[in-house]
Symmetry: C2
Subunit: 299 residues, 2 copies
């Protein structure tokens, strides 16, 4: 039998084709977040990723037995209904739409207990205990939540750079931000940062990482805070789900963890100081593997 | 001689007419922030407030010798030029356009040294030392700064309420927020809070104050943090301007200080723990008095 797993993200769509035991092919394409990029682009990204993966696996989409798609916001009917309709046009067999947290948890722990923290453009903590209960914390959107995410890091970097300017009359980090956003002055930055539509603060993450590598104290402080914030949401989930049982394994996923040693270190440190026994998996989880796993198992 | 002082704010315009020694009349009208409400509404607000104040003082606008207007963003030519043109159509005599921080500092300390912290919809700290040097901190706009302001309090309240929901599965503060914004569910709140255009978070301040009075722990924590954040920007200005001289007097202005005992208390506490000798004026400064004072003096 042939199975398909898809991770449909806000910046990238990844796709795995496999049989019962092996991965046969993979594909990747642009974003497939209906709310953000619309139905036309979502359709193109899904189709593109599926065609690539099927091509590599030398199978036709009509041979697929079961598909599992992980999407942010899958609990909202206006998202899952569109995704289900688009997928049913592209592949044969059963289609299951679940949250991006569900496939990431499956990728990290299969059916077992554990807590995952995802930090990409947004952030969230999600866990399941041995009784099968699940719980989330954070991930309520850019304006009020998503602590430690790429958006959060970018916005915090601008805030910290402006504060450093207030305190010292200069900020090397501010110079980097101006250059990245192609702005001339602090006043232009203030207008751009507070605009509606707001800018994509997550685009600043690479420069914050570079600045931190170059020893910029402000950038380091922002990344350390991001690690601590991500540990905070993890702690909420651990406290609620694992009161009566041993502390769980915790896994990390997403580009922020992937690309920043400082974030990972401060995440470790902060989490271990709260729960001495906690085990943190070293590998960064790839959610699409969980999608394929769930497609193999069915509901 | 007759003088006119105007405080042109984002939610209200206030106006005082006086002679050399006395206040003869006052007026108030809607917002006069050109960027936010446009030129037509700004003209109407200014005219309305001036007519009221002149009427009460029994003087004609053509009898005015000098006018001083305090505006947020007065350093930006596209704001000051429009205001100057509008005012020159309405009153006779010299017209001076200065920042809202300048009139508030004048209202609090005349020509003398001191630090003011303004917390309305936005927030900023501004000071002048005995050498006449001035310095600011904060006030860089909603998205990245304005720590402790009405916008900050409202957004922090939504964030804290969502976190309380994550932690405890319920939040009385969240119920109040839903009621105020006329929303049915947590999911509707998440959509509204993260919308572009974002909602006016400062409209939540009255309910945060009411919730705090009713003993809501989350609301109290938000207001205490606001006080501490406002003290932080004050500390930056004090550290930079008053290194070589005795610690200055500090004054408060704006609706957030006016309406919240908790914010004032935590502002006091946080500032006094940093600078033992600092004197904090009890009265909440009314900026328009500074505008009249500056109009009397001329440049």
């Amino acid at each position: 039998m042939i199975f398909l797993g898809i991770d449909g993200g806000g910046s990238k769509t990844t796709c795995l084709v496999g049989d019962e035991n092996s991965i046969l092919g993979n594909g990747s394409a642009g974003p497939s977040n209906v709310i953000r990029v619309g139905e036309v682009e979502t359709r193109a990204s899904l189709n593109n990723a599926i065609q690539q993966a099927c091509g590599a696996a030398r199978v036709r989409p009509a041979e697929i037995h079961r598909t599992c798609v992980g999407l942010s916001g899958a609990a909202r009917p206006e998202i899952s209904a569109v995704a289900r309709r688009l997928l049913s046009e592209m592949v044969s067999g059963e289609v299951e739409i679940v949250g991006d947290t569900t496939i990431t948890l499956a990728a990290a722990f299969g059916n077992g207990p554990g807590v995952i923290v995802i930090a990409g453009t947004g952030s969230i903590a999600y866990g399941r205990n041995t009784a099968g209960e699940t719980m989330r914390a954070g991930g309520w959107g850019f304006a009020i939540s998503d602590e430690g995410s790429g958006h959060w890091i970018g916005r915090a970097a601008v805030t910290a750079a402006m504060r450093s300017l207030d305190e010292n009359g200069k900020s090397p980090l501010l110079e980097r931000i101006l250059k990245t956003w192609k702005l001339e002055s602090r006043d232009e930055l203030v207008v751009a940062a507070n605009a509606t539509l707001p800018p994509d603060f997550a685009t600043l993450v690479p420069l914050v990482l570079a600045a931190s590598d170059a020893g910029d104290v402000t950038a380091c402080t922002v990344l350390e805070s991001a690690g601590a914030e991500l540990a905070r949401v993890a702690k909420i989930v651990i406290s609620r789900l694992f009161q009566q049982e041993p502390k769980p394994r915790v896994a990390m996923s997403g580009g922020v963890f992937q690309n920043s040693v400082l974030v990972r270190e401060h995440f470790y440190k902060s989490l271990r100081s709260a729960f001495a026994g906690v085990v943190i998996c070293d590998d960064i989880v790839d959610p699409v593997r969980g999608a394929l796993e769930l497609a193999r198992k069915g509901k």
